[in-house]
Symmetry: C2
Subunit: 246 residues, 2 copies
DNA sequence: AGCTCATGTGAACGGCTTTTACATGAGCCG
DNA sequence: CGGCTCATGTAAAAGCCGTTCACATGAGCT
């Protein structure tokens, strides 16, 4: 009947009109639900209301769809890290930790992207565009570490910023991957992943000689774009980055 | 000879004789080669020289084979961590770092096991035996952290051992997962994964107030009352756990 | 020798990926 | 408006995999 045809046309027409985007969205949902390994090209096609062969007009194969998602993920990741870093405001240490939390938040709130980016097993270095996107995201952490390294307390040698960045990345990824994902590797914890990572980073920074009570550094040491707030131990209990020992 | 009999049986017998083990070995090789996602039940069967249906006499399905491998992996993992810890000899800090290195070594040398254990996406908590094996492995790290925590410098609050253990685990897993695997996520690094993790752990321990020069403890009492920065010991270059700043 | 049961086989079903030949209709050009 | 062309869809088919089922075999026990 004609109404059916009309409706189908209204919905998608013979030509879908935006199949590529629809496939990406469908895949995103499927990956979030069943993981990148369980995600199926045919399922995405079905969800978009097209035949199983249609996706091949827009992606060379299943891997290319996955890569596209990973790429998009890295871009959003970069954007969120950039926002969290906020150019080091109000002070470098606070902003640095905000980046760590943004990392975890992304892993938690965008499991599909995170999965495609870090747990799908696709070769990052095979796709130059993907590698570049990954690099740009990491560069946010790297730039933040750079700023932090420049604040190394006088008298102590300055830690290499690249090393710091890699350390922070490994901590964030380790916590996210082991403790902060819904699907599989969830373990019972005495504290939330966020608290765990925060404490970890604070202890680490203290190990580098940074003051971790988040008080503004000594006069003139940091060139603040904005005068840092005079916070009095908002995030860190007195005595250490962990709770009171019982 | 008896080996000849075994071989003949393995080659020609209608009954394979040791199919379960052969399948596990074959799967191990395949996972090492193509990842847990790319591993195929049929391929394992083919490699063992049996029909595609034969494996179902020994494993309920593909996932159970994967679980078996993960379980075996956790057992080997535990054994290696135990050996590395060596009950805290010659001193706690040295032994603790040896555990970290053993973690990385396992990830590097047994990629198939590591993959099945941590990156295959199989639900750890669904299989009680698997969960128990995982727990036992983690308990090595936990016990080591316990010992370390007991050495907390006087005057500072004692860090919770569980938290320390989780931190160390996340660092080791983060480094292993991001930088120390052959397949995918390999990135260019200014230092080896081992050095990266070692520095990370040392800085972290220093952040907790532990001396990190790794000198054998003074006779009798393990905690040497040496201020952390005052020493220029063997394992750590003067100035810090990282190389000389340029 | 004969029985029985664990262990293997082959065939079959449904699902997935990917390719190929074909269909359709949207946009453009005269 | 009519017709051309090409991007974008479809159906069908080949080849793979996971899984099941009926059936075959032979190892070990009595």
């Amino acid at each position: 009947m004609s109404w059916r045809k009309e409706q189908r046309r209204a919905e998608r027409g013979y030509h879908h009109g935006n199949l590529k985007e629809a496939l990406l969205q469908a895949a995103l949902g499927l990956i979030a639900e069943k993981g990148a390994a369980g995600f199926t090209f045919a399922d995405a096609a079905r969800m978009a209301g097209v035949s199983a062969a249609a996706p091949y007009r827009h992606f060379r194969d299943r891997d290319e769809l996955l890569s596209s998602i990973a790429q998009r993920g890295f871009e959003q990741f970069e954007s969120r890290l950039t926002a969290a870093w906020d150019d080091g405001r109000p002070d470098t240490v606070t902003a640095f930790e905000r980046v760590g939390k943004a990392y975890l938040a992304f892993a938690r709130e965008e499991p599909a992207f995170y999965n495609a980016m870090f747990e799908s097993g696709l070769p990052v270095d095979a796709n130059p565009a993907l590698q570049a996107a990954s690099e740009r995201a990491f560069n946010i952490i790297r730039a933040a570490a750079e700023r932090l390294a420049a604040l190394a307390p006088p008298g102590t040698p300055r830690p290499p910023a690249m090393m710091m960045a890699l350390h922070i990345w490994s901590m964030a990824h380790g916590v996210a991957s082991l403790f902060s994902r819904g699907d599989a590797a969830r373990r019972k914890l005495p504290m939330s992943p966020d608290e765990l990572l925060e404490a970890e980073v604070l202890i680490y920074l203290r190990g580098l000689g940074f003051p971790t009570d988040r008080r503004p550094p000594a006069k003139g040491a940091e060139p603040p774009p904005v005068p840092p707030e005079a916070s009095s131990g908002s995030g860190v209990p007195p005595g250490g980055p962990w709770g009171k020992p019982k």
